[in-house]
Amino acid sequence: MDLAIETIDLTKKYGSLVAVNRLNLRVIKGTIHGFLGPNGAGKTTTIKILVGLLKPDGGRAIVLGEEVHGDNPRARLKIGYMPELPKFPRHLKGWELLDIYGQMYGMPLQERRARIKRLMEVVGLKGRENDLIGEYSKGMQQRLGIAQALLSEPELVILDEPSLGLDPVGMVEVREMIREIAKDGVTIFLSSHLLSEVEQVCTHISIIHRGICLAEGPLKDIISKISGTAILEVEVAETPDKIVEAVKRLPFVSNIHVEGSKVMIETNADGDVRPQISRAIIETGGTIIYMNVKMRSLEEAFMRLIMKSG
């Protein structure tokens, strides 16, 4: 499997505080990978190592096949990075900044012009490109941050909390933008607090807490692995008591409770257990009107994982 980002026992300390602790990340090329963790988990620190702003105290980091060590401009050529709460020179105009950054990537003039025009539209700064960045609002600077991360059409886009400080419309736009660029095969690595956002856009996630990676893999796998499997919601026509008894006896059912005519069945089996459950209910003479597998939310999985690790 081709990896866009790989870290091996990556470690970073601030004095005695271990911010990143033997972290092993694997971000597969072409995925939208969410990097989750509570405040102070070490997300920003990890990302800063990946883009060369910080030096690790131990371990390795490999980004797009290039070992990250010291000041390596070549490694940054194929990466677009948006810092957490980005700050840009206040005395430059929006387009000037993008034009200069484009020049640093070696983009020819024509290409820069076209790309900047397009990006300003995409991030919603059209009409403000001639204003000084010092006159931009926080959210506008954030939008400019996204634009400069996408400027060079990078292979890997690293976004540190892209929707921080954006209005609800902006958040939706960012989500759509991420999906859009991912269609071209670009790998996106984004850290976020917004679990619902991650759930909506990410294909893969890593959950980090106190510098340690607690879980990593495809989003769906993680959710089901952490919180057991799905909850089955079954609506029956009558006599739920007998049904409850029968279902409870099934080995993979961990919990069950009744809400009116609905029976909520928690299971901890891998794979689909709907046939066994429906058979058990029918054998008691019950009638199934409706059956639905409810996925647990990422939020639930996340909370469980963080609580468990203390």
């Binding site: 883009v51 050529l77 990075y81 059409e153």
Partner: protein, 320 residues
């Protein structure tokens, strides 16, 4: 996806990007514009004050073909101020504003960024000096008639730039070390004052003037003496890195003079032959040597301090 520029961006294009980034900043710095205005105001006063005074007392304005050459070579304070306002936040400001983060994550090396910043400072100060000298030459010619030795002007500008860059490199090194603009400015101003006040005291009252040859700033005061002739006390000259242009002019006009260093010595009683009897001659050196040494010392400071700034900048972790 695979465009040729993505594989091999041209270094020169990247350098120009950094220079542009920095130039646009420099010329929009209010403090820089302020110092430029002050410099023009001083030049204007220098040009017109004698005229105004003579007009007031109904005296004729005499032609002075040496006006420009005798006013060439900026004062140490002006050099220092230009250096200060241009580069005081070139490095530290990026850290304080957090703008260092997006900058350093672009595919340009930190070395190139520092070179770009220095090139931009050079262009900015060079342009300012060019304007000031042009103004002085045009004004001087209009008021005092045609001027002699204007062919020395390019050398004068070069000398002033060299003097300024000693301060530029001091300030850049401080900025790289402290990452704090206020601290950088305060220390730089203290160094400047120490070098100017300190050098006068050392030069006038002690016999250790030689050590001023190796420090930045005003340097030791000496007197121009033509070989084989008595000393002319009127021809005083400062020999530090701030005065390279003045020395270049003297050297070009009188290549074989000596510089004699003196100190003030109180011999008791009332001085007989006026002030000059208080002066004790220490030693003499050819002006060519003094000039060559000042240029070498300036170059050594510039190289050493920029290397220091680069070394620290290259290794700094970005915690902001």
């Amino acid at each position: 996806m695979d465009k040729p520029w993505k594989r091999e961006p041209k270094l020169i294009g990247q350098l120009w990007a950094v220079v542009r980034y920095e130039l646009l900043w420099n010329i929009r710095k209010k403090k820089f514009i302020g110092v430029l205005i002050v410099a023009f105001a001083i030049t204007t006063l220098n040009l017109t004050l004698p005229v105004i005074l003579r007009r007031t007392y109904n005296m004729p304005i005499e032609a002075n073909p040496d006006y420009v050459i005798s006013n060439s070579g900026m004062g140490g304070l002006m050099l220092f101020l230009f250096a200060l306002v241009t580069v005081m936040n070139s490095i530290s400001g990026e850290f304080e504003g957090g703008t260092i983060v997006p900058l350093l994550t672009k595919p340009v090396s930190r070395t190139l960024i520092l070179i770009g910043k220095i090139v931009a400072a050079f262009i900015t100060i060079f342009a300012a000096y060019l304007l000031l000298y042009a103004y002085m030459i045009v004004g001087g010619t209009l008021i005092y008639g045609s001027q002699n030795n204007l062919n020395l002007t390019p050398l004068c500008i070069l000398g002033d730039l060299l003097s300024t860059f000693v301060w530029v490199s001091i300030i850049l090194a401080l900025g790289s070390l402290t990452k704090n603009t206020i601290l950088t400015s305060v220390i730089a101003i203290m160094v400047f004052l120490a070098m100017n006040i300190g050098s006068s005291i050392i030069s006038v009252f002690t016999e250790s003037a030689w050590m001023l040859h190796y420090l930045p700033g005003n340097g030791a005061a000496g007197y121009i003496k033509v070989v084989g002739q008595p000393m002319v006390y009127a021809g005083s000259i400062s020999t530090g890195t701030d005065n390279i242009t003045k020395m270049i002019i003297q050297y070009c006009l009188h290549p074989s003079v000596n510089v004699t260093y003196v100190k003030v010595e109180w011999r008791g009683g009332t001085p007989q032959g006026g002030l000059s009897s208080l002066l004790k001659e220490l030693y003499s050196e050819p002006l060519s040597l003094v000039l060559f040494r000042a240029i070498s010392v300036a170059a050594a400071y510039i190289i050493a301090l920029i290397t220091l700034a680069w070394y620290v900048f290259k290794r700094t972790q970005i915690l902001e």
